[in-house]
Every structure is written in structure tokens, then in C-alpha cells.
Symmetry: none
Subunit: 240 residues, 2 copies
């Protein structure tokens, strides 16, 4: 693994410190050490997290905290969302094993794996940041995993991949910050044109657009091109 | 699976009711329902087990209790012992995946899977009942799984044997004709704006744009949205 990026475990709005600690333990069991927390409900640091982390406190101590999900994924080139929801729009869905294989074949890219809050899972807003949805193939009559167990199963499948092949080489995609920047520009230009007919419709359209570009995994040069397109179109004055 | 035997999860001298409940939950997550307890430390039944089992109380209610391990495995045809210990005598050792494949290939046999007490794991006495040792390939520097997590990983691998991996699932994307139609419109609008600085550069930029949208695999609705974006931007008149 030397020189390769580990996937980053990103807990979005985690609720209980105990669960964060158990996630850290499950991570280290599988050799994962990079933990990010988006706006943990009870603040940070938390003693309860250290208690349940057992000897995985190194993961807890190095955990990074972010105010928003966009900040947490800004330096990621790919984003996977774990979810029990049905397919959201056009984002492809994979089993955990397939997702782990996908990570192994993208060594060199920083990949963030999103896990939602204990009670509710990831909301649609968060999911729309992902280029791949990860589904746990548990018992359909009793599917609900607790947070640490979901993290464990992901880490387990990831670790199994390490022993295996080195995979296909992909051009490194742009970071999410660069894509977010493009999307913000697109959104503000669309705002000016009255594209968003109602305020109610806007979040849905924005999510759809975000998802399309998230899945495309454009590289730096392509993001630059997309900016160029936007500039050009903004200048156009059609007469119809 | 109808007609086939499920493996039986056998907790040997489990200590805390909470952990028994979490094992039950992990079992049912993976479709496992047969739980046996050998001389649980705090007796049986236990309210704390029901509490952590979430809605897996059916597993708890049907759990069978035995005084000795020999009683618990009496009707089993094979016995696997999960352990972090090094090989004991001549008993073969397998990874969890291999053990799960072994179970799948012995459908019809009743197989008991032994898990030791939380603090110590299985002792040599218990291990000597096994015809196969099952080892979890966790991080060698931090190998220790809690009981429910070990049960979960076993169940997970067992469940995977039941059904093949489905791979990545995509929502049906729009046809390439629809995407080509959108791209043609984009290209002609860009043409008007002077986006393509030279005729030589144009094919390269067009290829790049085509590739971005090809990879995004937009569905019909998303292509419609992209058309809307194009219309909106074409009407925009920026003053810069």
C-alpha cells in the first residue's frame, strides 16, 4: 500500500460518541486510519468515543472535523455514499465488494466514503455528492446495520482487496472542491437566467446537476474546459 | 436455501447480555437465525440481550441454551472454531471466506460455528472439538474484533455465498442518440460564441466534452435537464 491512498471514512452528522469510537475500532481492525467527522451532534472531542475505541485511540485522535460535507470532501477525487435507499437518480449502485474492488483499481485517487447519521442514514443532499452508491446486501427482511458494523463491513472488503491485484490505472480526477466551484458558478449563472422557475424546485435541479458531474469524474483539464464552456455560453446572446 | 441447513452460531460462555443481543442482530442482518448459548455467564434469558437485539428478538427468543459445549454440538456434523490463536495441532485453518465456501459446499450438513467468550476467546479445550479453525484476517497490529463483529463478518461471508455478486448496477441511461443530440446543440451554441478559437482545436474540445457526458451516463430526465440548462444559458446576457 505504500504510496497509495487509503479511502477516507467520513461520518456525516454522527450522533453518539460511543458509535464514533466503535467505528474507529472497526476501521483499525481493517487497517484504515483516516477518519473525518462532519458536524458531529455532540461536538468534538468526546470522551465516550475514546472509551469505545479500545486501543484505536490513534484514529480518534487524528480524526478531522469539518463543518460541512463539502469541506470534508473538498480534496477527494471520488465520493461513495453508503445507503440503504433505493437508487437515487442516475447514480450507479454497487455492492460493497464491487466498491472495494473499484477503490483498489483507483489507487492514487483520494476516495471519501460517506456514512450517514445513526438514526436516518444519509439524506438526498449528501447522496447527490456521490459518484457511486454502496449498498450492503444484508437480509432484506432485516437490513439495518448499525454504524460501526457498516464501517466494519466496508473496511473488511477493502482489506481483502489489498492482498489482490493492483488494477487498472485511471487518470486522476479533479478534486471535489474544483467540481463544487464549477457547480457554484453554473448555479449562479442559471439563477440569473431564471432557470429555477420556483424556489421549491431549485434544490432538486441542483442535486441532479451535481450528481451528473460527480459521476463524470472530470479531470482538472476537463473542469477547466467546462468553465470555458460556461464563460462562452454566458456571453452568447441568442436572438430567439 | 430451502431444504439446506443454516450454520448454527454457538456462543461459548458468553459474558454480557448486551453482546449476545448484538450478535443476534448481526445474525439476522445476514439471514442467520439459529443461535445456541453454552452456559452464559449471567444466565438466561436476559433483558439486556433483548434490548440490544433491536428487532432481532426472534433470534433471542428461539436461542437454545446448553450446559456443555458437547451438548451444544451433539447434533452437528461439522464444527468450526473461530480463533485468533495460531494453529492448534493438526486442525486445518481457513479464512472466513474459505470457511463460508466450505459451508456452501456441504449443504445438508449441520455445521456449528463456535465463538469464544468476549475477554479470552475460545480455550484449547473448545478448539479441540473443531474440524476447521476459522481465522479473521484483520489488521495484524490491531486484530481484536468484538464478539458481535466477528459474528457479523462470518454471517456476511456466509450470506455472500448464497448469492453471486451483482456488480455495479446502473439506472438505464439515456440512449447515445439523445446524448449526441444534446452535444450537437451544445457544439452549435459554442460555435456561435466563438468558443472554438481555431478550427484545429475544435475536434479535441468536442471529444473532451463528449467524453465527460458519456461517462456521466445521464438518464432521460437528466438529458432533458441539460437541455434546459443550455436554453437558459443561451438566453443569459452577462455584461462582462
Amino acid at each position: 500500500m505504500s504510496g497509495n491512498e487509503q479511502p477516507v471514512i467520513i461520518l456525516v452528522h454522527p450522533q453518539m460518541g460511543e458509535n464514533i469510537g466503535m467505528c474507529a475500532r472497526a476501521m483499525l481492525n481493517c487497517g484504515l486510519t483516516q477518519l473525518r467527522l462532519v458536524a458531529p451532534r455532540d461536538g468534538w472531542p468526546q470522551e465516550s468515543a475514546k472509551a469505545t475505541a479500545a486501543d484505536a485511540d490513534v484514529v480518534i485522535e487524528n480524526a478531522e472535523v469539518f463543518e460541512t460535507l463539502d469541506d470534508a470532501i473538498a480534496d477527494c477525487q471520488r465520493v461513495f455514499a453508503t445507503t440503504a435507499r433505493d437508487r437515487a437518480g442516475g447514480t450507479p449502485v454497487a455492492t460493497v465488494d464491487t466498491a472495494a474492488a473499484e477503490i483498489a483499481s483507483h489507487s492514487g485517487s483520494r476516495i471519501g466514503i460517506l456514512f450517514g447519521p445513526e438514526a436516518s442514514g444519509l439524506d438526498r443532499e449528501s447522496i447527490s455528492r456521490a459518484d457511486l452508491l454502496v449498498r450492503f446486501t444484508t437480509n432484506p427482511d432485516f437490513p439495518s446495520l448499525n454504524l460501526a458494523q457498516a464501517v466494519l463491513l466496508f473496511g473488511w472488503e477493502w482489506k481483502k482487496q489489498l492482498a489482490g491485484d493492483e488494477g487498472v490505472e485511471h487518470a486522476p480526477p479533479a478534486t471535489r472542491a474544483e467540481i463544487a466551484n464549477f457547480l457554484a458558478r453554473l448555479e449562479s449563472q442559471l439563477e440569473v437566467t431564471g432557470f429555477f422557475l420556483t424556489e421549491e424546485m431549485k434544490p432538486h435541479s441542483v442535486r441532479q446537476l451535481r450528481s451528473i458531474f460527480a459521476r463524470a469524474l472530470p479531470n482538472d483539464q476537463e473542469v477547466k474546459l467546462l468553465h470555458g464552456v460556461l464563460s462562452a455560453l454566458a456571453k452568447s446572446q441568442t436572438k430567439d
